[in-house]
């Protein structure tokens, strides 16, 4: 207590927002590929060595293919095939860890960067490209994979997620004890998004109704050019405590920890214990998007430091050192990645442009007479040029 009576400086208690994770960071696999213990979270308990190896190989494959999607899309943007692309380079572990912790009945509300989660949920990566190419605004059917459309207005989806979770409560699929039935929602957002009123309101609604939602924040240290310190002066996961539900910081570059923590948080939600805030502490290795130039606002050695924490490299070391995967496996994944890359390149270029008149479709469930008139007028106008050329 200081004389002031308002207690110590909270930054002293909680530590600064940014300190390479800090002691409270949940980690199960070090950057060097060493397994470490954590008092509360563990990975692989009860799994046979074979099953454990298979699971970790699965993570490696997911992350490798996710990264390839990202690399290909970035290249496609450079070649003018995409208008823009939001890169996830460096965030593969956070997304695959979270994505693989989901059950089929769980529902995802993503931002515009959740390509790895989409992959885990079974969304065809080609469909992700449509939005960035400008041929649609999200080509997949959310109900097919329980994976919502990308949301571009920062934070808006966290309220949708909370409402969806309130719907699950009313459907009686929370806390029944039936593992096939109990469901939860995961809301993805970034460190910058944590400043939006909507995100904080979603915390209030989720806490007030004890909704089964996991707030999964990928703190990649940056909101375009603004560092995390601009949004919070204490570790972000602490935000949740003020709303009355738990927050936890996990090493977002550690797929095992990201999986274990998200899995536990989702389980809490499914069991009816309410919301949890998971801060996946990671780093945006690339630009904000392909139109951004990070050299204007951040130091490259910062990036270099984080390179050493690469989420995929550490899993590869872990697999190899413990003979959990042979060269054949790595070659197969590499080949699969090449094939995926090829499919994306070809598929992207083949994505058809929408018909001009399609813009009048789906404004409403059924086209209004007003719009029919507008569409027909425009159609006639377009035809008037047919002759011209």
């Amino acid at each position: 207590m200081t004389q002031s009576g308002f207690g110590p400086d909270l930054a002293e208690v909680f530590g600064p927002a940014h300190q390479d994770g800090g002691p409270e960071l949940v980690q199960l696999l070090t950057p060097e590929g060493e397994r470490v213990e954590h008092p509360d979270f563990s990975f692989g308990d009860g799994l046979t060595d074979a099953d454990l190896a298979e699971t970790v190989r699965g993570f490696f494959r997911d992350m490798t293919l996710t990264r390839r999607i990202d690399v290909e899309a970035t290249a496609l943007q450079r070649h003018g095939e995409l208008g823009i692309w939001a890169q996830l380079l460096g965030q593969e572990a956070a997304q695959v860890g979270a994505g693989r912790a989901l059950k089929p009945q769980d529902y995802v509300f993503p931002t515009y960067r959740e390509h790895g989660v989409a992959w885990c949920k079974g969304v065809d990566p080609l469909k992700l490209l449509g939005l960035f190419r400008g041929v649609d605004q999200g080509g997949w059917d959310p109900s097919e994979n329980n994976f919502g459309l990308y949301t571009i207005v920062i934070g808006a989806q966290t309220l949708h997620a909370t409402g969806y979770a309130m719907g699950m409560q009313r459907d009686g699929v929370v806390g029944t004890g039936d593992p096939e039935r109990d469901a939860a929602v995961i809301a993805h957002f970034g460190d910058g998004a944590s400043s939006q009123g909507d995100v904080n309101e979603s915390f209030i609604f989720a806490a007030s109704y004890n909704a089964p939602v996991v707030f999964f924040c990928q703190n990649n240290q940056w909101a375009i050019s603004e560092p995390i310190e601009r949004q919070s002066r204490i570790p972000l996961y602490q935000r949740a405590l003020g709303f009355g539900f738990p927050g936890i910081r996990v090493d977002g570059n550690d797929v095992l920890a990201s999986y274990a923590v998200t899995q536990a948080a989702l389980q809490r939600a499914r069991e009816g214990q309410g919301p949890t805030f998971v801060e996946a502490y990671t780093y945006r290795m690339g630009a904000h998007t392909t139109t951004d130039d990070p050299t204007r606002y951040r130091l490259s050695d910062d990036v270099e430091r984080w390179k050493l924490k690469d989420p995929i490299a550490r899993v590869e070391v872990y697999l190899k050192r413990n003979a959990m995967a042979d060269q054949e496996f790595f070659d197969a994944v590499a080949a699969e990645a090449d094939e995926l890359g090829h499919r994306l390149r070809e598929g992207c270029k083949a994505l058809p442009d929408p018909q001009p008149l399609s813009m009048f479709d789906h404004v409403y469930a059924e086209m209004t007479d007003e719009l029919v008139v507008q569409r027909d007028g425009f159609a006639a106008y377009l035809e008037s040029f047919e002759g011209a050329h």
């Binding site: 949708h160 409402g163 969806y164 909507d198």
Partner: protein, 333 residues
């Protein structure tokens, strides 16, 4: 199900009619949920949801935290989960914290998903002035919503329409901004026959026949227009009054028909004249009935000032005399 025979017809206020309509909708569809500030035990500050939480439970009539963006945003999530949320915005002036969720999410969800996730949701807004309230309690935000593709906007003007339109809006697959003229809530009673067949939701209605000037109104100004027509008839002028009922989409058929007949039109609403519904109606009428018009379409609305202190709100609001003044101006143009 309420047994229609039991109470075939009864005299009810708009507030009561809306309450009955909501109750009927909840009985007809278990997916209908109500949410908003004080809609539960209190029954809403206007008592529109009176008794509904008691009868349908806290899971279906939900008191929300004090946050409009949260109300609409979580409502969207419920709709995506298959529910039919009907959210109440306590007063027109408090819809703006939810504006982003309404115009960027509610309005665009169906289009964004190419129809895969339509968003059936009703946003109830008590609107308009004349109740002697303080700032932000007497606004008319309709034009802003009507300007937003993806939203549908309707306004009821009487108890019978209130009863039917709220049920139709809830059953409709698109999001509907449902405007309730709060000044009328407890004003006049009307005979409600629950066994009748209502007009389609998105249709305007000719409420008084006349030959000299067409007067277009909706919500609170329908009553004003009808009073004006009554007064005018005493002076030998016959006004044709149309209750627009739907503001987006607009149902212009009857309007054009009427104006082609009268050659003159006056639009009246409480919203500011500048870029109010009147500007769109005047533009469309002029485009469609150019050669039938004897005079430009005149607009009688709230002035282009913020809503004033209540002691002078009746000067701000269009009234019988200002409508008649416009009628005279168009007749003597």
């Amino acid at each position: 199900m309420a047994a229609p025979e039991a109470n075939a017809t009864q005299k009810v206020t708009l507030a009561k009619a809306l309450n009955m309509g909501l109750r009927q909708a909840m009985e007809d569809d278990p997916k209908v949920l109500l949410m908003g500030e004080d809609v539960g035990k209190l029954g809403g500050v206007f008592r529109i949801t009176d008794g509904l939480q008691k009868d349908f439970g806290e899971d279906r009539v939900i008191d929300s935290p004090l946050a409009e963006s949260g109300i609409v945003g979580t409502g969207i999530g419920m709709a995506l989960r298959g529910y039919r949320p009907v959210v109440e915005i306590q007063f027109d002036g408090f819809v703006y914290p939810a504006y982003d969720q309404i115009v960027c999410q509610v309005a665009k969800m169906c289009f964004r998903s190419q129809g895969k996730t339509p968003l059936p949701m009703v946003i109830r807004i008590p609107f308009g002035g004349g109740i002697g309230a303080v700032e932000h309690h007497s606004e008319s935000p309709e034009a802003q919503f009507a300007h937003t593709p993806g939203l549908k906007v309707v306004a009821c003007s009487n108890p019978v329409d209130g009863y039917w339109m709220i049920q139709q809006a809830i059953a409709h697959p698109d999001p509907v901004i449902f405007l309730e003229p709060k000044r009328q809530y407890h004003a006049d009673k009307a005979e409600l026959d629950e066994t009748a067949t209502p007009d389609p939701l998105f249709s305007s209605r000719l409420v008084r026949q006349g030959g000299d000037v067409t007067v277009l109104a909706y919500g609170p100004t329908v009553k004003t227009a009808l009073k004006a027509a009554e007064a005018a008839s005493n002076e030998g002028t016959s006004l044709e009054v149309i209750d627009l009922r739907t503001l987006s989409p607009l149902d212009m058929g009857k309007v054009y028909e009427s104006v082609r007949k009268t050659g003159r039109a006056v639009v009246t609403h409480e919203a500011h004249v500048n870029l109010g519904m009147g500007s769109e109606l005047a533009s469309r009428i002029t485009e469609e009935c150019f050669y039938s018009l004897e005079a430009p379409v005149l607009r009688v609305g709230g002035f282009d000032t913020p809503y004033p202190p209540s002691r002078i709100e009746e000067d701000f609001l269009p009234d019988l005399d200002r409508v008649l003044d416009a009628v005279d101006r168009t007749l003597t143009f």
